[in-house]
């Protein structure tokens, strides 16, 4: 049956993402617990929000005493990049997939599932493939959160601090192999890094939040790429 094989294929392709999510989600559970966030709130965050960067920033701001509206606005700004990602994904999913299915699949779009889906191949993605990919990622994210909350408080502090890098290591693992394949990708990602660094470090941009910095850097870099590479992302 095609449905089943597509779903299983999605699960299979999602295994590295799912395993990579475990330490990140464990780190999230640990961090939330060390900040004395109630366990049920932490669990609910992973169930309902399912976005690593948002959840980390959310609890950080909560501990810093930010107001709820500030937290929600920051989360929104940080997530505007998903507008770009799902707009890209909308062109990559089979056209026949219905609106309600699209609304369901949208919940599982993360930086990682998006990257895996879009970079997979030139053919259109089926809904069952994406469902499989999202399911395994969602499952491991929540299991990891539980592990972090209930099993890991006994971990030494140095290990907990070191696990903060997990989310970034995952991004590196997704980006670097593509840089190896294509010089265009190297240039585009370096431009984005340069712009984001300027926005972060130059005193005149001190008012620009991290979320906006990421969005501006992403859009500007992709726009520059569109102008200087008329052939798009070349593949060797």
């Amino acid at each position: 049956m095609e449905k089943k094989s597509e779903f299983l294929e999605g699960l299979k392709v999602g295994v590295p993402v799912a395993v990579g999510y475990i330490p990140i989600a464990v780190a999230f559970g640990l961090l939330a617990r060390s900040f004395a966030i109630p366990n049920q709130i932490t669990i609910l965050m992973s169930l309902m929000i399912f976005a690593g960067a948002s959840q980390f920033i959310g609890i950080n701001l909560l501990v810093l005493g930010a107001s709820y509206s500030e937290i929600v606005i920051t989360t929104f700004i940080l997530n505007l990049r998903h507008f770009l990602m799902t707009a890209t994904l909308s062109q990559k999913i089979e056209v026949k997939v219905s609106k309600s299915w699209r609304a369901l699949l949208a919940f599982g779009v993360t930086d990682e599932t998006f990257t895996i889906g879009v970079l997979r191949s030139d053919k259109k993605l089926s809904k069952y493939f994406i469902l499989g990919l999202n399911t395994i990622a969602y499952f491991s994210w929540n299991v990891g959160t539980w592990i972090g909350l209930f099993l890991a408080p006994s971990l030494p502090d140095v290990l907990k601090a070191s696990m903060g890098i997990a989310l970034y290591a995952m991004f590196i693992g997704l980006l670097v192999p593509n840089i190896r394949k294509s010089k265009t990708v190297l240039v585009i990602s370096c431009i984005a890094i340069a712009i984001n660094s300027l926005l972060s470090w130059l005193p005149i941009f001190a008012g620009v939040s991290n979320g906006w910095g990421i969005i501006v850097a992403t859009v500007m870099s992709a726009a520059i790429g569109t102008c200087i590479y008329p052939e798009g992302v070349e593949r060797e």
Partner: protein
């Protein structure tokens, strides 16, 4: 009250994921827009990684994050599995944390 915050965060996370996917169903975008979108994942990953990674292992010392980051880049460049890239990054940061700090 915290629950309300979580619900609001969930809403502002879900809406940007959902709207383009649902609204752009039957719209074939012009070539230059597709080209632009083809660059988005790489641009976004670059901006997400740096400089955010520098403060990922604590705000006092950058060394563990830098070493972990280099470990991950090397492993990723050698086409190691994503699991190893993440594990190597954590291990690199951890070693610097216990040996030097």
């Amino acid at each position: 009250m915290l629950i309300l915050l979580i619900v609001a965060m969930a809403a502002v996370t879900y809406v940007p994921r959902m709207l383009p996917l649902v609204l752009l169903q039957n719209i074939a975008l012009p070539n230059y827009i597709n080209r632009f979108m083809g660059f988005i994942p790489y641009a976004a990953l670059g901006a997400l990684i740096f400089p955010g990674v520098l403060h990922s292992t604590g705000t006092n010392h950058l060394e563990p994050a830098i070493v972990g980051c280099i470990m991950s880049i090397i492993l990723a460049f050698l086409r190691c599995n994503l699991i190893l890239v993440v594990g190597g990054g954590i291990a690199g940061a951890f070693i610097v944390n216990i040996v030097f700090l």
